[in-house]
């Protein structure tokens, strides 16, 4: 989409024009909405720190701080957390590499029919995954019968990489269309450089801004995925969303553990978002066609 990251920062003098009361009203509304948005977070944090959770006191602050919930939730989620880190990182890197290659071709080295192929890729970004899930599941079972190691995280790496190709391709294509001027490519071609060499020595060195966006985008969507996890993995080899659903489901009465589990399972993406927030917004913008 047309929106780019740099435009989100405000440039004018802040609020000089608005009358005093309008400004107060505006800030009051902003604070009110912020409180509403943070309310579920409050429940999570407060409950996770209680030693005993009584139904009647759920909204009050803990009387004595206890980290038992955090410890026991971490113990239960730890194996899945490790698997999810590996899965999300590897699939983000693979999808980014493929996206950069495709994006370069679609932006600057088109072959006959490239536009049609690109549109077909884009549609792949929008499809409801339910539409491929049944045959995908039986295909994965078939592959597993030949290669027993193709299960759990390995399957999810493959699936997230493949279904991440469209969005990564789009992000890189849009980026290269402005970041790699045609003139430079022409000059390099005149100098006798082939496509692969141009890609390696001219295009890759300027790719970092788009790569950050696709890495973050892919990492968070792989981390947060539940649908593929549910259909293609089980409790012994699944990612953290699967483990969290197991932890929170059923009749688990330990609310402190459950709420701490939610926070632990969300920490990596929240951390990515807090530390790399600027790029995260960039990812959202470029993903706006998604």
């Amino acid at each position: 989409m047309a929106a780019d990251t740099s435009t989100i920062e405000h440039h004018g003098a802040p609020g000089t024009r608005s009358a005093g009361w309008a400004k107060v009203l505006r800030v009051a509304l902003l604070v009110l909405f912020a409180a509403l948005v943070l309310m579920p977070m409050y429940v999570l944090v407060v409950t996770s720190l209680k030693s005993t959770v009584t139904p009647s006191g759920a909204w009050s602050l803990p009387t004595d701080l206890s980290f038992d919930g955090w410890v026991s939730a971490f113990e239960r989620l730890a194996p899945a957390l490790v698997r999810t880190v590996v899965m999300a990182v590897v699939s983000a890197v693979l999808a980014t590499i493929l996206g950069a290659m495709n994006g370069f071709v679609f932006a600057r080295w088109q072959f006959p029919g490239a536009q049609t192929v690109f549109t077909l890729f884009l549609f792949g970004m929008f499809i409801p995954y339910q539409a491929v899930m049944i045959p995908l599941q039986s295909m994965m079972i078939d592959v597993q019968s030949v290669f027993p190691w193709f299960e759990g995280i390995v399957v999810l790496i493959a699936v997230h990489t493949i279904f991440g190709i469209p969005i990564c391709t789009l992000i890189f294509r849009n980026y290269y269309a402005t970041a790699v001027p045609k003139e430079i490519l022409e000059a390099a071609t005149v100098d006798g450089a082939g496509m692969w060499r141009i890609f390696r020595s001219v295009v890759i060195p300027v790719s970092a801004p788009a790569a950050v966006v696709t890495l973050i985008w892919q990492f968070t969507s792989a981390w947060n995925d539940f649908l593929f996890a549910l259909f293609l993995t089980n409790r012994n080899n699944g990612p953290v969303t699967y483990a969290l659903n197991e932890l929170a489901g059923g009749q688990n009465p330990d609310y402190a553990q459950i709420m701490a589990g939610v926070l632990i399972a969300s920490l990596p993406t929240l951390l990515v978002y807090i530390v790399l927030g600027k790029y995260f917004i960039g990812g959202l913008m470029s993903g706006s066609v998604k």
Partner: protein
């Protein structure tokens, strides 16, 4: 066109992705449609003997059968209510927040981060806490979650059975957590849109005597309509395939909160009926495609016009 010598390396570079997308998107869709058209029988015990009984006649009749079933129509109605409330809710909240923020206030970055953070949380994680918040129990002592908060604040009248309510509109409550998660995203889109419009345009309108409201109505909003359209498509198509959140809040096989995507899970695993599940999945694909294909066509065209 250039000589093949020039473009062939480009094609080779994309080839791995073409093969992967070809197989995992288009071939699997074809296979799913093929499954949906199958004839299916089920072994049943009749008078102490096994008997093969037809459960799907095959072909288009599999579709008319599902579309005509009460369970499916209930799920479709739920999806409609969910989608309308979700889309309208996120658009209103997103636009409102962006208007509150667009002129710049102190601490804007903090507000922006707060509004946007739910987007970084998975539907499964959000579903756990919202399941508690939207607990149906009511009344002093019994109520938990939001109802309990309302009782404590003396707002007993606001208590609700939320999505568990025996009502045709219960799915409006299921849209609440979804609105909570996505409004910040829509805010970010609109905010970027506002900031992309030069200050000189507002200035010119003000000099012409336009009120603040008129500046928004006649200068700013019209320029945001392409963004509003993308936002609409993004939220709309997310709603149509929404699964995780409902699964986490209402459980895997809830009838009350069923939508086509969760019904598909029930068909596949609880009812062991892959044909019906494939029919259902194909219809979800068609519904999404009806919305998305014209949009892709439209953006493709405007992009080409822009050069």
């Amino acid at each position: 066109m250039q000589r093949p010598k020039n473009w062939l390396p480009g094609l080779l570079m994309v080839l791995p992705s073409i093969i992967l997308v070809g197989i995992f998107v288009y071939y699997l869709i074809a296979q799913n449609i093929w499954t949906s058209l199958n004839v299916a029988t089920r072994r049943v015990v009749v008078g102490g003997k096994f008997e093969e009984r037809s459960i799907h006649e095959g072909g288009y009749r599999n579709y008319t059968e599902l579309l005509g079933s009460a369970d499916y129509q209930h799920a479709l109605w739920n999806l409609l209510v969910l989608t309308v409330v979700f889309v309208v809710g996120t658009m209103i909240m997103g636009l409102l927040w962006s208007i509150l923020l667009e002129k710049g206030v102190r601490g804007e970055g903090v507000f922006r981060s707060i509004y946007l953070f739910p987007m970084a949380v998975s539907f499964i994680a959000a579903g756990v806490v919202w399941r508690w918040l939207l607990s149906p129990a009511k009344g002093e002592g019994a109520a938990i979650g939001l109802n309990q908060l309302f009782v404590k604040l003396g707002l007993d009248g606001l208590q609700s059975s939320w999505w568990s309510a025996d009502s045709r509109w219960n799915m409006a409550a299921m849209a609440l957590p979804a609105i909570w998660q996505l409004s910040g995203y829509i805010m970010a889109l609109f905010l970027a849109g506002f900031r992309g419009i030069g200050e000189d345009q507002r200035e010119a309108a003000r000099i012409d005597g336009a009120s603040e409201w008129q500046v928004y109505r006649h200068v700013l909003f019209p320029q945001l309509s392409p963004i509003a359209l993308s936002a609409l498509i993004i939220v709309g198509h997310m709603s149509m395939k929404m699964f995780d959140l409902i699964y986490a809040i209402a459980g895997p096989n809830s009838y009350t909160a069923s939508v086509p995507a969760t019904l598909m899970w029930t068909q596949l695993f609880a009812q062991r009926d892959p044909v019906a599940a494939a029919v259902n999945a194909t219809i979800i694909l068609v519904i999404v495609a009806v919305v998305v294909v014209p949009y892709l066509w439209y953006t493709n065209r405007t992009e080409r016009e822009r050069g």
